[in-house]
């Protein structure tokens, strides 16, 4: 079967710095894949290249949404990429602070709704129904993610862990077939991390989404991932199951090297 996301030969240069160096990654349907690597390896840059926030210097990003033909994402704007069914969260939380929790999720629904200016001003029946449906759908998503008690709170007033979950809820609201999570457990306590672990598996099993996540919490990565991709200095150095990666000498060297630099 075609991979749902196929990254081929992706290179991203910032002036003299090669943040990504011909990276190939393929994600299969229904998979939870992890992208790991030391800080500054280029993981976030890869997400930005896939989602159209950066335009890669070279390479192809192809998607094959379930039940649809293969399609290229090269050169598309971020909002079009999202329309095609890829949704992401951010390493440094980027919620809309001036809105309530529910409205944040409703922003996720935006690209699946139609109502325009005249619809907003004159509120015909179709628009009213659409709006009601959007509220209902968004509320349902909040229930699934376990944030329903915060519906009408301002997003900025949420506790940290809840803000991270809200980012996932918002991404889920765009109806993606692939979720890209950038360090979703960063800053969470062990209890919150455990809940996140359950949530990610639940999403894959019940919401029909595949997941690619960047994560530093190795315990979480090892327990969740079907497949792990390792990058270091912009190059992909390994791929495999948790067990394979754990025992891969190249990976160990990359991480130990990283640690000895820190020390």
């Amino acid at each position: 079967m075609e991979p749902i996301l196929n990254i081929k030969n992706l290179t991203m240069k910032f002036g003299g710095l090669t943040a990504l160096n011909s990276v190939d990654i393929a994600i299969k349907k229904g998979e939870i894949a992890a992208l790991i690597g030391p800080n500054g390896a280029g993981k976030t840059t890869l997400f930005n290249c896939i989602t159209g926030i950066y335009e890669p210097t070279e390479g192809d990003v192809q998607i094959t949404p379930p039940g649809k033909p293969t399609d290229s994402l090269n050169g598309l704007k971020p909002n079009i990429v999202t329309e095609r069914g890829l949704a992401r969260t951010f390493q440094n939380i980027r919620l809309f602070h001036g809105m309530t929790v529910l409205e944040n999720v409703m922003i996720g629904r935006h690209c699946r709704l139609k109502s325009g200016i005249l619809g907003a001003m004159f509120k015909p029946k179709s628009q009213k129904l659409e709006e009601q449906q959007a509220v209902a759908d968004s509320y349902e998503i909040l229930e699934k993610i376990g944030l329903e008690q915060f519906v009408n709170e301002m997003a900025i007033n949420l506790p940290y862990g809840a803000q991270r979950r809200l980012e996932i809820a918002r991404a889920l609201a765009t109806n993606p077939f692939l979720l890209l999570l950038d360090e979703p457990a960063a800053g969470m306590n062990p209890q919150e991390t455990k809940e996140l672990d359950d949530l990610i598996i639940w999403l894959r099993d019940n919401e029909n989404v595949s997941i690619l996540l960047i994560e530093h919490d190795m315990k979480l990565v090892m327990s969740l991932s079907d497949n792990i991709h390792v990058v270091d200095y912009g190059k992909k150095i390994a791929e495999g199951t948790a067990l394979e990666i754990k025992n891969n000498p190249i990976v160990i060297k990359a991480y130990l090297g990283d640690e000895s630099e820190d020390a």
Partner: protein, 400 residues
């Protein structure tokens, strides 16, 4: 309560103020007799004034910090609490309605006329609030669209005798059109850059109007613009002021109605998302280009309307009515009233426009007072007089 340190700081500040204002407040040159007069007493006033102001400033800052430490989550402004409470909502609105209704009949014409000016700013403020308050695009050239509306009515009426009632909706469309046109070139700009470029556009329209004499009659302006068409009924001067008053009340209500709907619609949410985080908003599937253009267009619409009413009310317009200061006044209305808050903007317009009219002392130093107010608001209440409150939703399950 007041610490020693604060007193010391205020003392030095007042010394500094004395030195700073010495040439202005103390020295006075009489050029006729060629003598210099020293007004030493003024030192005392400056010193005491600066000292007290500084103490007050410190005191208020401290109070604000103490207030922030407490839980301020449910500090919803009183107006919003009145509006949200089912029991008070209707009486509250009814009271305002009755006051608005009897106002022109119980007050002299002069007051009605001033109120009309203030209400023009309510419309302008609500329009600019879409661009600045909701979409977060700092537009310093808003007067552009105001001028378009005013000149559209003046010229169309002068040359073709087209009625107020036809130009009014037309000017809304013209505003939207020019909003889109102006939006295109500035799409890639944000923040300070956007402010500078829009400021330029605002000045361009004034310069064009001043110099394209065949088109706009240049600096002499256009005279004898008729008031709103009253369908053949003869009105005295007082009656026609009342007539315009009710027209503008109606247009205000329409503006409030539509702006409120827009704010809580799919489009309005996209504006706020773009304001809060441009990258995240695109990543959530929102088309940035479209969102910016709709904000510019729908903001400009109301300025077009306001321009027509302004021209009909004053019966005389010239390019000097549309300077950068006009844009800044409208911006002050939005920022001081409360960015993104319709209720705040309405209150802001009434306070900022009515105050200088009634307090002549304020009128002379209008821009100085606005500037000072702006600083005070930014420091003590950055969300404005009446802060924005988002709509809350009740969840109803929809049957499949």
């Amino acid at each position: 309560m007041i610490t020693k340190n604060e007193i010391k700081q205020s003392f030095f500040l007042s010394m500094w103020a004395i030195i700073l204002t010495f040439p202005l407040m103390v020295i006075k040159v009489n050029t006729i007799k060629n003598i210099v007069i020293f007004r030493w007493w003024n030192i005392l006033y400056v010193a005491i004034g600066a000292f007290v102001a500084s103490l007050l400033w410190n005191y208020l800052l401290r109070r604000k910090e103490e207030g922030a430490k407490k839980d301020t989550k449910d500090s919803i402004p009183i107006v919003h609490r009145l509006l949200q409470n089912q029991k008070f909502r209707l009486p509250f609105l009814a009271t305002i309605g009755v006051i608005a209704l009897v106002y022109p009949f119980v007050t002299p014409m002069y007051h009605t006329s001033i109120m009309i000016s203030a209400l023009v700013y309510v419309i302008l403020g609500l329009g600019l609030n879409i661009v600045v308050g909701l979409a977060g695009l700092l537009d310093l050239g808003y007067v552009f669209f105001y001028a378009i509306g005013a000149y559209a009515y003046a010229l169309l009426n002068l040359h073709f005798g087209i009625s107020f009632w036809i130009v009014l909706p037309l000017s809304a469309l013209l505003g939207a059109l020019f909003g889109t046109l102006l939006g295109y070139p500035v799409l890639r700009l944000r923040g300070d850059y956007l402010a500078i470029v829009t400021l330029g556009f605002g000045e361009i329209i004034r310069i064009v109007l001043e110099n394209w004499v065949e088109f706009s009659n240049g600096p002499r302006g256009i005279r004898n613009i008729p008031g709103p068409d009253s369908f053949g009924i003869e009105l005295t001067q007082h009656q026609s002021v009342i007539y315009i008053y009710f027209i503008i009340i109606a247009v205000c209500l329409i503006t409030i109605f539509f702006v409120q709907r827009l704010e809580n619609s799919r489009i309005g949410r996209a504006w706020i998302a773009m304001r809060d985080d441009e990258i995240a908003c695109q990543a959530m599937g929102i088309d940035k280009t479209k969102t910016k253009l709709t904000a510019f267009a729908l903001g400009a619409t109301w300025a077009g309307l306001a321009g027509v009413i302004f021209a009909a009310k004053t019966s005389y317009i010239n390019p000097m009515s549309f300077t950068i200061w006009e844009s800044i006044t409208i911006l002050c209305v939005v920022v001081i009233g409360g960015m993104g808050s319709a209720v705040g903007v309405i209150a802001g317009a009434l306070v900022l426009i009515l105050l200088p009219e009634y307090l002549r002392a304020v009128a002379e130093y209008r821009m100085l007072v606005f500037g000072a107010l702006q600083v005070v608001v930014m420091v003590f209440k950055p969300e404005g007089l009446i802060e924005a409150v988002r709509k809350t939703y009740k969840y109803k399950k929809i049957k499949e």
